[in-house]
Each structure stands twice: as structure tokens, then as C-alpha cells.
């Protein structure tokens, strides 16, 4: 049984080293089994061949990566702006919230794959990248909207009274009290939305199909059609890396903004 020392928090070095060692072992085993059993490369290519594809097709893949990244980032920032704007609107006016929130939920729960063909037809025939942007934004904005709305409302009651006492204006209340209170919630929403923006961009590209021919998702379809499985894996790898980078970037931002005061981010001595 594990002693008390092994049940504590592992050190940062262990946290980094252990997953990396596991990854190396996994990739090594993959390489070994594929070569040992002569698995055809169009079924499962060995990691070395994927790496090769990554280097040889660098030109095409980097263009695709850049295109997907552009859509993802643009959708994320548009979702951020729309989500925060509507959250503020909702907390300022109850009637806005009552009338609009159900539609935001409908937009959220309707599978994006089923909305995508409509958007592509209406917008995407001439401007495919606009359709991709709209679809990725639809997927990404809801966590920001709902988290920020919750955060803006989760203000300490006594602090509200304090602002009443000094007759703070709406703007002062929003800026000095509600927004800082909502920040941890907003950052949590952003972490979810960052990943969803990427998913939205990929799904939209899949649906848009050959018309786009530029992003990583399209590169996966195209490689599959040509049975170029190593390149398919290379594109997949790039998508994963992109998702990881987005997540870590937003986590770093969260730590940076909250480290001074929020329980989730401050270091503890005991």
C-alpha cells in the first residue's frame, strides 16, 4: 500500500518527467510492433514515418496549420467579445437575459454539424473562411457567456452594500466590483472556449469539405483520400499540438492574472 509520502503532491520535475517517459515508451512500443509485425503503412504507419511526413510535407502542412490557427484564434476572440458583451447586458437588464438566454442555449445544444451546412450555403459559397469563423464562434461563445454571467452575479453581498453606501454608479460597480469578481469565472470559460474554438474550426472544415482545401482538417480528409496515412497522422499531430498550446497559453494567462489573490492560483505554504 502507498505510504503517506507517496500520497502527497509530486514535485514539478516528476510531473513533467513521468508523462514524457510514458510518451517515449508508448511511441517506442508503437514503432517496434508496427515493424515487427509488418503492419502495412496505410493501416498504421510507424512514428518514424509520421515524423518523416511532417518534415517532407512541412510546406503544405504549415500553410494548413496557419489557416486553422487563424480561424481558431479569430473565432475565440469574437466569442470572447460577444460572450462578455452579452453577459454584461444580461446582468444590467433582466429583460435581456430572460428574452435572449434561451436562444443562446438553443444555439449551444444544437449540434454544430447540423447547423454547418446552412451556414456554408448562406455564407460559405463565396467566403468559406467567414462560414468557418461563424461556426467556430457559435461553438466557442457559450462557455464564456454562461461563466461570465455567473461570475458577474457572484458578487459578495456585503461588498454590494458597500458600493450602495458610497452610491457607486453602474459603471463603477461593473468596473471595480463585478468585473474583478467575474474574472476567475471568465478565465475558466476561456479555457473551455479555446478548445471549443479549435473543435469548431475543424468540424466546420470537415463539413465545408473540398471548397476550403486549406486547413488541417481538410488536409486530413485529403490525405485519407490519397491513402497518405503518414501525412494524415502528421496533420492530426499538429492539431493536437495546437490544442495543447491553446490550453497551456490560457492556463498561463489565468495564473498570471490570479496568482496574487485567487485561491485557485496562489501557492500554498502548508
Amino acid at each position: 500500500m502507498a505510504g503517506p509520502s507517496s500520497s502527497g503532491n509530486p514535485s514539478p520535475a516528476v510531473r513533467i518527467i513521468v508523462p514524457i517517459v510514458l510518451g517515449i515508451v508508448f511511441v517506442g512500443a508503437w514503432e517496434f510492433f508496427v515493424r515487427y509485425y509488418h503492419v502495412p503503412k496505410f493501416v498504421l504507419p510507424p512514428p518514424s514515418m509520421i515524423a518523416e511526413a511532417l518534415i517532407n510535407d512541412y510546406q503544405t502542412l504549415s500553410v494548413s496549420l496557419w489557416n486553422t490557427l487563424k480561424v481558431t484564434l479569430a473565432a475565440f476572440f469574437v466569442a470572447l467579445a460577444i460572450g462578455v458583451a452579452f453577459a454584461i447586458l444580461f446582468t444590467q437588464s433582466r429583460i435581456f437575459e430572460i428574452s435572449l438566454f434561451p436562444y443562446a442555449v438553443i444555439l449551444q445544444v444544437t449540434p454544430i454539424v447540423s447547423i454547418a451546412p446552412f451556414i456554408i450555403i448562406w455564407v460559405g459559397l463565396d467566403h468559406v473562411e467567414r462560414a468557418l469563423l461563424i461556426l467556430a464562434t457559435i461553438v466557442a461563445f457559450f462557455p464564456i457567456l454562461s461563466n461570465t454571467t455567473l461570475g458577474l452575479k457572484s458578487v459578495d453581498h456585503n461588498l454590494q452594500n458597500l458600493f450602495d453606501l458610497y452610491r457607486a454608479s453602474r459603471w463603477q460597480r461593473l468596473k471595480e466590483l463585478q468585473f474583478p469578481s467575474a474574472l476567475p469565472y471568465l478565465l475558466g470559460g476561456m479555457k473551455i472556449s479555446g478548445g471549443l474554438a479549435l473543435i469548431g474550426a475543424v468540424v466546420a472544415e470537415f463539413v465545408a469539405g473540398s471548397g476550403t482545401g486549406t486547413g488541417l482538417a481538410w488536409r486530413i480528409i485529403e490525405s485519407a483520400n490519397r491513402l497518405n496515412i503518414p501525412r494524415m497522422f502528421a496533420a492530426l499531430l499538429l492539431l493536437s499540438v495546437l490544442g495543447i498550446l491553446i490550453f497551456f497559453g490560457l492556463s498561463a494567462l489565468e495564473r498570471l492574472l490570479l496568482r496574487k489573490w485567487h485561491e485557485s492560483a496562489v501557492g500554498r505554504e502548508n
Partner: protein, 280 residues
């Protein structure tokens, strides 16, 4: 203990209200019914004079906090009126007076430093940061936190957080300091120290203090007037003068006079609670 000792008199006879003509705050027939229909307060009549240290003492649920909040303008009265005879009223009918309010919890903004927290009331009233630095530094020194201006609330102990909260209330140079069981959550040692510091500040700054508490000992130690309230519906059942000289310190806390005041006040409180039970 039903007999009233000679040291104790009805407070109205000695309160600032009669000493200086018009009272600072005047409550006439104040009542409060909550939205759910509960009658929280009924027929509260009270005049508070400039410079008094008044404790509102009562069992929990007697509406003393509600009363304090209504005095601060944080809740409306259902009946009666609260007037500020010495204050000017603005066009909206709001009295122009400077209040400091200290909540039971320190109620600091966790994302802001002690300096920013204390500066907040001035910021909300439009005072620029540069103009406020002097005043903020001054009140931080008054509560002994001058070295912690740059600290965040989570880095402070419970007592220090409460000091920061008091500094924030003082920064606007309030005429009236309203305190809602501010030390209830603190340990005994910290509470006694803060009691003494509060008394020292009150004597030097000449505010009026209205102090809500459920502690007989704390109210006798601090105040020169104790308003005893009964349980729901809350109303005033006794108005006691604590005619002991200031400054008060350990000598007072261990004196027989102090004990006598505590005994009398306790008896009034017991009567208030017994009366409430009979009615139900």
C-alpha cells in the same frame, strides 16, 4: 436582579440629544416587515446625539442588524422615519452625511491590496489616487497597518483584515461609524485589543458610533449607552446609560462598577428575551 442600581439611569436624560439640542439621528416609529411577511422590527423610537457610543444589544433575530442597515440607508423602512436633523438633504431627498460601515465580515476585495481597499470609498466619490494617498496612509497608520499597504487580504490575519475594514470605514472621515458585530468572529485576545484601539480612536476623533453586538460584556466595556432590544418582533425594551469615565482599560474591565453594569444589562436582556417568549 430587578432593582436598578444608582449608577444606572435612563440614558435619554444624559444623551447628547438633550445636551446639544437637535439629535444627529432621529428614529420615529420605525418598523420593518420583510417581504415574506415576517415582522422584524416594530415601533422603534430612538434619538442619537453627536459623539455618543451607542450599542444595540439583543438576541440574534431581534432585528438590530436590520435597524443598523436602515440607518445606513441600505434598506427601506416599512413604517416610520429615520431623520438626520443636522444634515442637509439633496434633491432626491437623500441626507448628505458621511458614514462608515463595518460589516461582521471584513468584506475586503480579495483582488485588491490593502491600500486599494481602503482607497475604494474615496475612489467611488471621485477622489483621485494622488490626492487620496495622504488620507489613506493616515488611516492605515491609525489602525496600525501602515506597513501592510501593499499586502493582499489573504496575506493578513483575521484581526488585521478587520483593521483594514475599519480603516476603509474611517477614510471618508465619517460623522457616524456604524458597526455590525464587527469583532464577533475574532478570538478573545484580538477582540480585546481591537476594542481598546476602537475606544482610543473614538475618543480622539469624536465620531458617533452605533455598535451592534450580542455581547453584554463588549457593549458595557465600549459604550456610554446601551439600547437593549427584544427578540422578534424587535423593539427597544431598555435604554441604559453606562456612566463610567473614559479612557477605559484593564482597570475598568476588572472593576466592580463594570461587573455591576454587566449584571444590570444582562438582567434587562433576560427580561427582553423572557418577554418575547411569553408572547409566543
Amino acid at each position: 436582579m430587578t432593582e436598578v442600581p444608582t449608577v444606572l439611569r435612563r440614558a435619554a436624560a444624559v444623551s447628547g440629544a438633550t445636551n446639544r439640542g437637535r439629535p444627529l439621528i432621529s428614529l420615529a416609529g420605525v418598523g420593518k416587515t420583510y417581504q415574506n411577511g415576517t415582522l422584524a422590527l416594530t415601533d422603534v423610537n430612538l434619538s442619537i446625539g453627536q459623539g455618543e457610543f451607542v450599542s444595540l444589544l439583543g438576541p440574534s433575530g431581534c432585528g438590530k442588524s436590520t435597524l443598523l442597515r436602515m440607518i445606513a440607508g441600505l434598506g427601506s423602512t416599512s413604517e416610520g422615519s429615520i431623520d438626520w436633523p443636522q444634515s442637509r438633504y439633496d434633491a432626491k431627498g437623500e441626507p448628505q452625511r458621511d458614514l462608515g460601515f463595518v460589516f461582521q465580515e471584513p468584506t475586503l476585495m480579495p483582488w485588491a491590496t490593502v491600500f486599494e481597499n481602503v482607497y475604494l470609498p474615496l475612489k467611488l466619490t471621485g477622489v483621485g489616487k494622488r490626492a487620496a494617498v495622504g488620507r489613506v496612509t493616515e488611516v492605515l497608520a491609525m489602525v496600525g497597518l501602515e506597513k501592510f499597504a501593499g499586502s493582499y487580504p489573504r496575506e493578513l490575519s483575521g484581526g488585521m483584515k478587520m483593521r483594514a475594514s475599519i480603516a476603509r470605514a474611517l477614510v471618508v472621515k465619517p460623522q457616524v461609524l456604524l458597526m455590525d458585530e464587527p469583532f464577533a468572529a475574532l478570538d478573545e485576545i484580538t477582540r480585546i485589543r481591537l476594542n481598546n484601539d476602537l475606544l482610543g480612536l473614538w475618543q480622539s476623533q469624536q465620531w458617533t458610533v452605533i455598535f451592534v453586538t450580542h455581547s453584554v460584556y463588549e457593549s458595557v466595556y465600549l459604550s456610554n449607552r446601551i439600547v437593549v432590544m427584544s427578540a422578534r418582533p424587535g423593539r427597544i425594551v431598555a435604554d441604559l446609560a453606562i456612566d463610567a469615565p473614559y479612557p477605559r482599560g484593564e482597570m475598568f474591565r476588572t472593576s466592580s462598577t463594570y461587573n455591576e453594569f454587566c449584571r444590570t444589562t444582562s438582567a434587562e436582556l433576560s427580561r427582553a428575551m423572557a418577554g418575547a417568549e411569553e408572547e409566543h
